[in-house]
């Protein structure tokens, strides 16, 4: 077509005009640290595995998850999920049910018998792990994946530590625990049961280990002196819960008093109900607010008919009866005696005053510092003794399985570094993806899926699992509630809202890139990015 000069033009010719020169600020894609990842004691990349889960790629999601935590099925039951506490979605409607999805993935893995990728060829390093609790097993798992030979010496007859002896069946069915422990062993971890280490230096020397991770946990119940009659029936929570794993459950009587305010106290009281106690009373010297037990535990306990007695101390125990003194909190929040007393019928008293570690195996190791009954370690979890590391309940930290697993992962990294003679670099942490970084307009409203709970009658009569799992539909639903804070989830917004077509779409999983030839730097993409994965950076002057 012979076109009239200047007035009629060939289409698309403006591509010759590179408007990128107009730009004083340039958009840049970034990844921010989602609050859930930031808060996870086990260092899980929650957003990372939810990204796969929401796509229905469950095995992929599970594999992403176990990069950091080999116990999804256990965690999905017993973790107190700090991730959900900080979830940005909570400010929209409700936090994403991360824990429920984790459990779903863990159960899927067991159901389909997914196993870990085989460990890499041996690095030559040989590490002893003392104790097959969450910390020990986690360390062993990660060390194997780093190519080291790992041997676990476990004093008990079964692995799992507090996951088995501290957490009742109705919260964590044993087959689930066994399955995930077994999967770790299958990775080539040498597990020696009934092997109590009494003299660590000797063991280290004789069995020729290059490094040791000490994770014996805290198994000894703290005792308190209570004036008691000869016939008074007093036992401690640790041995109560421990004995639940044995053949014959202990007899407690109809009226059980539990003394203490931690999760263990709740477990003990709920166990008592299940063993037939009509009255299960938790006596605690302070108030509900100051109680260390997690809310969910307290709620479930009270649901099941456990009675709470705040601001009380047991001053005397007799057959069938105890004497309580009422307390008041002083202005510093410490309980002070009031001199007022009351009696309470009780067939037995269970003491749940916390646990201590048995550190006798360290006798004679002067370079290992012990304070307040726990081993002192540096940020790399190494004790004063070269090559001796410690984690879990034997070091100062919150005593939860999740934290222990996190310790194990961290220890494995530092042990690996120590064995290679390197100081391992902590992976750089991105800026936190806080709520203000999000453009929440683009997320539709979607309330959390409640996990079904077992009928109350059955909860107080049997040890069936109380909290059920999600089926696939609502697991997917829950996963898709994730806002993917700070991490591109390919919603195409930047691609769509650019007035200059200066965003290039790279295809599924490949995200996008900016075409700086044409980007004028208006910043609409930054404002309209739902998850805050774009920042504007000034152009160099």
């Amino acid at each position: 077509m012979e076109k009239p000069f200047a007035i009629t033009l060939d289409v698309g010719s403006s591509l010759a005009n590179k408007t990128g020169s107009w730009r004083v600020e340039r958009p840049v894609y970034i990844d921010r640290l989602p609050p859930c990842n930031d808060a996870c004691p086990a260092g899980e990349n929650v957003q990372g595995w939810l990204y796969y889960a929401e796509a229905g790629e469950y095995e992929q999601a599970w594999r992403q998850l176990v990069q950091d935590n080999p116990f999804p099925a256990v965690m999905g039951r017993v973790c107190y999920h700090p991730c959900e506490t900080v979830c940005n979605r909570a400010q929209l409607d409700e936090a994403v049910g991360i824990n429920a999805v984790e459990r779903f993935l863990g159960d899927q893995a067991i159901e389909h018998g997914w196993s870990f990728e085989a460990a890499p060829p041996s690095s030559g390093g040989r590490v002893l792990v003392v104790g097959a609790g969450p910390a020990g097993l986690s360390t062993a798992y990660h060390l194997r994946r780093l190519g080291h030979a790992v041997v676990i010496y476990e004093a008990g007859a079964t692995p799992g530590g507090m996951m088995r002896f501290g957490i009742p069946k109705y919260r964590l069915p044993r087959d689930v625990l066994d399955a995930e422990v077994e999967r770790i062993c299958a990775l080539g971890v040498e597990l020696h049961l009934n092997r109590k280490v009494t003299d660590l230096p000797v063991t280290m020397r004789d069995d020729g280990f290059d490094a040791v991770f000490l994770a014996v946990g805290a198994q000894l119940a703290k005792r308190a002196y209570l004036p008691a009659g000869d016939s008074a029936h007093i036992l401690d929570a640790v041995s109560l819960l421990h004995s639940m794993e044995g053949a014959s459950p202990p007899r407690l009587g109809r009226r059980v008093v539990v003394y203490g305010g931690g999760d263990t106290a709740m477990d003990a009281a709920r166990t008592a109900r299940r063993l037939g106690a009509t009255d299960a009373v938790v006596v605690y010297r302070r108030t509900r607010e100051r109680m260390p037990a997690h809310d969910v535990e307290v709620e479930e306990a009270t649901d099941e008919g456990v009675f709470m007695k705040w601001l009380s101390t047991i001053t005397e125990v007799d057959e069938g009866q105890i004497l309580l003194e009422q307390m008041v909190l002083d202005d510093k929040g410490f309980p002070q005696p009031t001199g007022r007393f009351e009696k309470l019928d009780a067939d037995c008293v269970v003491l749940a005053l916390g646990e201590e570690s048995d550190l006798s195996l360290l006798t004679g190791m002067d370079d290992v510092e012990i304070a307040d009954g726990v081993v002192q370690v540096g940020p790399d979890l190494m004790t004063g003794h070269p090559g001796l590391f410690a984690g879990g309940d034997v070091v100062p930290a919150e005593r939860t399985a999740t934290n222990a697993i996190g310790n194990g992962k961290r220890a494995a990294r530092t042990i690996d570094g120590w064995l290679r003679g390197e100081t391992p670099r902590e992976p750089a942490r991105h800026e936190l993806a806080s709520f203000e970084h999000l453009n929440t307009w683009y997320y539709a409203d979607a309330p959390k899926t409640e996990r079904p709970r077992l009928e109350l009658v059955r909860r107080t009569s049997t040890f069936d699992e109380v909290v059920g799992g999600l089926d696939e539909t609502n697991a997917l639903f829950e996963a898709r509630r994730c806002l993917s804070c700070g991490n591109c989830f390919e919603c195409d917004n930047c691609f769509g809202v650019c007035p200059d077509n200066a965003v290039v779409k790279l295809g599924p999983g490949k995200r996008y890139e900016f075409d700086y030839d044409y980007c004028k730097g208006c910043g609409i993409c930054m404002v309209e990015c739902p998850c805050g994965a774009i920042v504007m950076e000034p152009e160099r002057a």
Partner: protein, 417 residues
């Protein structure tokens, strides 16, 4: 086919034979009979594959034509006077975009005072719009020029305006040989656009052009007009072959060979001038006539040649530029600038004022006797004008001149002959 019919209908018949595909109509006297007749042909399916669109204004009429033409359709409309002025922005645009729209202009005066009768003020207002402007001397020419107009327009990708005097031609019933469909089909090939809006080959039409290219664009518009100057004569020749009569061309001449005095004019007044010429020649006066058919492009050379050695050139025109004088005269003056002929402008027939043979004979005689001023208003009632001038000088609030003059003449507006 030889017929006795109204000029408007003759033109409508010719346009219908040209098979326009989009015809826009907005009523304004004295153009209405043309589009009415075309509309009837479309409704009766005599003219097929044509959309007849009743638009809401002349501005829309030309705009619809622009859109249709740019989409490869043969587009036609007609207007007059105020209507032309109302569409003038689009008139320039059609030319600027090089769209071969054909339009009939039924020449009529421009108000105020409002006046529905014939003169050429409207055509002169779009003199510089870039359109080819052809003037018809009678209804035969008017009819034939439309057929040539589509041919020229589409060949050159330029809009063409055929000017015919309102009422004097549009409403006159005369003998006209109306082209037949066969003749027109043989003469006018289907429209092949130079540029077209087509999804298969998209282009952007109507870009914004800055100082870097605007002069070139305007020059090209001029160059196109110069091409038209070549083609108009040739097309008239080809038309004569196909239709057996001569119509169009750049200029027409009558007894110029030995003329001392030549009158130059546009449109239907030429017939009356020729009658006057015969009268004078019968008494031995050497007078002649040059009719300008192609006003744009303006035929400088052809005109110079036609005027030859006349010592006096009189431009009789139905328009004028207040504060200056003749409009056509300016162009004619340029054509004879290096000849020794003296030029006079006679402004005649404004707003439907009759131009009589007697009056024209007077003009010729005064020209021959060197009594003709440089600028004369033919049949001007000097007394009326002087009285109004006096009134205006006398009282600040002298009121509207038009009404004053009518009152002075004792005429009721437009009632009398």
């Amino acid at each position: 086919m030889l017929s006795q019919l109204e000029g408007s209908r003759a033109v409508a018949g010719a346009v219908v034979c040209c098979r326009p595909q989009v015809v826009c109509a907005y009523p304004i006297t004295p153009q209405t009979h043309i589009v009415e007749a075309i509309g009837a042909s479309v409704k009766s399916r005599q003219l097929k594959h044509c959309r007849f669109i009743n638009v809401e204004s002349e501005f829309a009429a030309m705009s619809v034509a622009i859109g249709a033409s740019a989409t490869g359709a043969r587009a036609y409309t007609a207007t007059a006077s105020q209507g032309l002025l109302f569409m003038i922005e689009a008139v320039y645009n059609a030319a600027g975009l090089g769209l071969p729209v054909v339009m009939t202009l039924a020449n009529r005066a421009i108000g105020a005072p409002i006046n529905i009768w014939n003169d050429h003020s409207d055509a002169m207002a779009v003199r510089d719009s870039g359109w080819v402007m052809l003037f018809a001397e009678d209804n035969q020419t008017a009819t034939d020029l439309h057929v040539q107009a589509f041919r020229l327009a589409e060949e050159l990708s330029l809009p063409v305006m055929v000017c015919m005097d309102g009422y004097v031609l549009t409403h006159a019933t005369e003998r006209v040989d109306v082209p037949t469909q066969e003749q027109v089909d043989a003469f006018l090939p289907p429209y092949k656009p130079r540029q077209v809006l087509d999804p298969a080959d998209p282009v952007s039409i109507g870009a914004m052009v800055g100082p870097e290219a605007f002069t070139e664009v305007r020059y090209l518009a001029h160059a196109k007009q110069l091409q038209a100057l070549e083609r108009i004569g040739e097309v008239a020749g080809e038309f004569a072959e196909g239709f057996g009569r001569h119509s169009g061309g750049l200029v027409s001449t009558y007894h110029v060979e030995d003329a001392e005095v030549v009158i130059v004019a546009l449109g239907s007044v030429l017939g009356t001038i020729k009658d006057a010429t015969d009268e004078l020649r019968a008494n031995g006066a050497r007078v002649g006539v040059v009719g300008i058919t192609s006003f744009r492009p303006f035929p400088l050379d052809a005109l110079r040649e036609a005027i030859g050695d006349a010592r006096k050139v009189v431009v009789v025109e139905r328009a004028f530029s207040a504060g200056f004088g003749g409009v056509l005269s300016t162009d004619v003056g340029l054509a004879i600038s290096d000849a020794k002929a003296r030029l006079s402008t006679v402004v005649a027939g404004l707003g439907g004022r009759a131009v009589t043979e007697a009056g024209l004979i007077g003009v010729f005689e005064d020209a021959l006797g060197d009594r003709l001023e440089a600028l004369r208003f033919l049949d001007l009632d000097k007394d009326v004008v002087d009285r109004e001038l006096a009134r205006m000088a006398g009282t600040r609030r002298s009121g509207p001149s038009a009404e004053n003059v009518l009152r002075d003449l004792g005429t009721v507006a437009s009632g009398a002959l």
